[in-house]
């Protein structure tokens, strides 16, 4: 039996198997291009193996020549796919060498087609049957070698150079094993195939073509290296799965719900915890609208805006919002998300974690409520402290009203009242009545219990309101009040009542400070000014003994008081109010004696001001 007929088809079969496996991998899985080039290469080698077998059994020189042509075409495919494989697999290489090698070989191939001759030989004069060991026989061509062979072998040589160059580059980049193993075996077998076929064609060596065997070796070297990558990828994906599992366990333990939103398909994947948080059944499919439905209607717009912003900037978002739970209650969720992938590149998704923070939120709200309660109580206490002065302030217009009314009655009784006089009296009564109501409105505002309301405020107006309330108190303390107000103060965002409370506290403290020690001038100076582009300052300065050393921070501590009958909560509350307005409250000794308390709150810059600036 001719063992040649047995061995060559085996090579073909092996190559086809490799080709088909890699073709499958080339359409799915990582490194598609490398697998496709490998597959193409393997098909070509399988074909070459067939070509070699056909050459060995050629019936005539003409048939030999035709088969040789197809072999050359397959060789060209091998060179092209090989350079492609190296190019994508090594990620480096000289583009010019690759194009030159493949191009030159194509030129040789074209020349055969144009001239209608077979490759390798100018003319095939005859075929000789050779005998080899085991009694196997095969055909060998005899003829005149073609000068175009130089071009073909130069092309192979250039491809060889490309492989060596790419291997050296890869070696320098650090992937030494791959460079030596793949580059080395490629170089060796390319060289072996080339030299051997050249020797066969020159008639120096009398053996069948062994190109397919060399290329099979190359295929095995390449395949081995590809397999290493596939194995690594498999291991990596397994590790990834483990890591994901660990993450999920950790997330579950930390009560975090994790989710991924595939934006293109509008599909949301969510962990059990997350589903429980939003009230989704474990198997229900979720999309963006379904989540939005669960969000409290008042928070929907804010949440959508935050997500849109994150998608637009490829950034992150972090927010807290309410979720309507199935039992009709409301749960607070703290969410954090990050955008992955770009909108135009496709595959954009949003990754996030959500956490139930209802308990923390409730505690926060309770604390805020208690703070508001305490603020209210201290305001009431403040107004109580000023009760006498406020009564005086109210009594003045009432006295004028009563006296005016009596005077009018007397004029009427004596028949001595002109309409002009009456009109004047009534105007006075009206003005005083209005003044009394203003005082009452001021008091009511201070003792009113209500939600804090934020508005754009003119601090000068707040100062004016407070001055009206403390005017009588100043007289009772024998103090004078002087003001130095910046006329064009930018508005601040705040609660008028609370800021009045702060100012009232500071002014009454100033009175108290000056009561203990006789002072000259017995004056409280209130100033407002524009500190910088960002903030507005209001300061209250007295001419008392000033603050004891190191008391400038202690005065703001709860239950610290220098007053004999002070509770020590006034300034602590004032501080918490100012801080709630994102401002600062400080105490210091003023130059020339006395203490100076000031607070700064952020100014609200209106767009028109910004434009003007």
């Amino acid at each position: 039996m001719n063992w040649i007929n047995f061995l060559w088809p085996m090579v073909t079969g092996t190559c086809l198997t490799l080709a088909l496996i890699n073709l499958r991998l080339g359409f799915a899985g990582p490194m598609r291009a490398a697998h496709l080039f490998f597959s193409l290469n393997a098909f070509a080698v399988a074909f070459i193996s067939g070509v070699e077998l056909a050459l060995m059994h050629a019936a005539s020189p003409t048939q030999y020549g035709v088969v040789l042509f197809w072999g050359d075409l397959a060789t060209w495919i091998i060179l092209a796919s090989l350079t492609g494989f190296i190019w994508v697999f090594f990620g480096t290489g000289s583009r010019w060498l690759a194009l030159a090698g493949v191009g030159l070989h194509a030129v040789a191939l074209l020349s055969y087609i144009v001239r209608g001759t077979s490759p390798a030989y100018l003319e095939i004069t005859g075929l000789k049957t050779m005998k080899t060991f085991g009694g196997a026989t095969y055909q060998v061509a005899r003829g005149v070698p073609s000068p175009w062979n130089v071009v073909t072998y130069s092309a192979v040589l250039i491809v060889l150079l490309f492989v060596v160059d790419a291997s050296v580059r890869l070696y320098r980049q650090g992937a030494r094993r791959r460079a030596i193993f793949v580059g080395g075996s490629l170089t060796f077998f390319l060289l072996a195939a080339g030299v051997h076929s050249a020797l066969v064609e020159a008639g120096i060596v009398r053996t069948p073509y062994l190109i397919s065997w060399s290329y099979l070796a190359i295929l095995i070297a390449m395949g081995n290296e590809l397999t290493v990558d596939v194995c690594a990828a498999t291991k990596l994906s397994q590790r990834l799965r483990e890591s994901e599992e660990r993450m999920r366990l950790a997330a579950d333990a930390a009560n975090l719900g994790m989710w991924i939103w595939e934006i293109a398909g509008d599909d949301v994947w969510m962990t059990e915890k997350g589903r429980a948080l939003f009230g989704f059944k474990p198997e229900a499919s979720i999309d963006y609208a379904a989540i939005l439905d669960q969000v409290h209607p008042e928070d929907r717009a804010v949440r959508q805006a935050a997500i849109q912003q994150a998608l637009k900037t490829q950034g992150e978002y972090e927010m807290e919002y309410r979720v309507q739970s199935t039992d009709g209650g409301v749960r607070w969720v703290s969410a954090r998300g990050r955008c992955l992938g770009s909108a135009n590149g496709g595959g954009q998704k949003l990754l996030g974690v959500s956490m139930d923070v209802t308990e923390r939120k409730q505690a926060e709200m309770e604390a805020a409520q208690q703070r508001a309660e305490l603020g209210h109580l201290s305001r009431v206490a403040l107004v109580g402290e000023m009760a006498t002065s406020l009564a005086h302030e109210l009594n003045q217009p009432l006295t004028a009203i009563v006296t005016n009314a009596r005077a009018a009655q007397r004029f009427i009784a004596s028949g001595d009242l002109s309409p002009a006089d009456l009109n004047e009296i009534l105007a006075d009564i009206g003005a005083d009545g209005y003044r009394a109501s203003e005082v009452i409105r001021g008091i009511k505002g201070m003792v009113r219990r209500g939600e804090s309301e934020c508005h754009a405020l003119d601090l000068n107006l707040v100062i004016a309101n407070v001055l009206r309330l403390v005017r009588a108190d100043a007289i009772a303390h024998g103090c004078t009040l002087s003001t130095e107000l910046e006329p064009a103060l930018p508005p601040v965002l705040g609660d008028a009542v609370q800021l009045q409370q702060v100012l009232l506290n500071l002014i009454i403290n100033a009175f108290e400070a000056m009561r203990k020690t006789p002072c000259d001038p017995c004056r409280v100076e209130i100033t407002s000014r524009y500190v910088d582009a960002q903030s507005v300052e209001v300061s209250v300065r007295d001419f008392g003994p000033g603050l004891p050393a190191d008391a400038s921070t202690r005065v703001f501590k709860r239950f610290y008081s220098t007053k004999d009958d002070g509770m020590g909560v006034g300034l602590a509350i004032a501080l918490s109010i100012v801080e709630a307005h994102a401002g600062t409250l400080r105490a210091e000794n003023a130059e020339g004696g006395g203490a100076r308390f000031w607070f700064r709150v952020p100014a609200q810059i209106t767009p028109s001001v910004e434009e003007a600036a």
Binding site: N395, A400, V402, T403, N404, R406, A408, R410, D416, D432
Partner: protein, 207 residues
């Protein structure tokens, strides 16, 4: 004598205006001042007058003004008005000789009655002052010896005792006593004693 005048000192403009109006309705002349300092600058009024004064005012308070008036020897009848009359303040004011102390808002009749009586007292005071000045002027016309006789007479001494005290003849004392009665423009010893009382416990001594 000039017509009675009511002065009002209150830092509150509307209260001042209403008070001036009330006094006008009662047929009283009044002047208003915004501060204690302005009132002090005005100087004393020559005629029956009273001062309606607010206690609580910036700078000089009502009580400060009262003290300043006493220190400069002015003796206006002061009626205090206050929006929050506390007892210690009221006591201090009354001790310093305030005519009345009324809480705001006050009853008009009460205030006008207080003002009327203060004006009356002021008038009386002025009359007394005039009488005293008259008596003092008459006493001043006496010679030293006549004054000694005058002192003896109002002490209820007999002519004989006076003569013995002065070491002169009874006849001389009788003549001098007649001249004293003439200069003092009285006809009886009782009148003379009354006049001496008007002139005060410590008349200007001629001796």
């Amino acid at each position: 004598m000039n017509t009675p005048l009511v002065c009002v000192v209150d830092d509150e403009a509307s209260v001042r205006r209403s008070l001036v109006r009330l006094f006008r309705s009662a047929g009283l002349n009044s002047e208003a001042f915004a501060s204690a300092r302005a009132y002090l600058d005005r100087g004393a009024y020559n005629g029956p007058s009273c001062l309606v004064l607010d206690v609580r005012m910036p700078e000089l308070t009502g009580l400060d003004l009262q003290r300043a008036l006493i220190e400069t020897g002015r003796d206006e009848q002061v009626i205090f008005i206050t929006a929050n009359g506390d007892i210690p303040m009221c006591a201090r004011a009354m001790k310093a000789g305030a005519a009345d102390f009324l809480p705001k808002p006050f009853d008009d009749a009460e205030l006008l009655a207080a003002v009327e009586s203060a004006l009356f007292r002021s008038g009386q005071h002025r009359l007394n002052q005039a009488a005293q000045a008259d008596a003092c002027a008459r006493i001043a016309t006496l010679t030293p010896r006549e004054f000694q006789v005058f002192q003896g007479v109002i002490a209820g001494k007999l002519n004989k005792q006076i003569a013995a005290d002065l070491g002169t003849a009874l006849k001389t004392v009788k003549v001098q006593r007649g001249r004293v009665m003439e200069k003092m423009r009285v006809t009886s010893v009782a009148e003379l004693v009354q006049l001496s009382q008007k002139a005060g416990a410590a008349p200007p001594t001629g001796s």
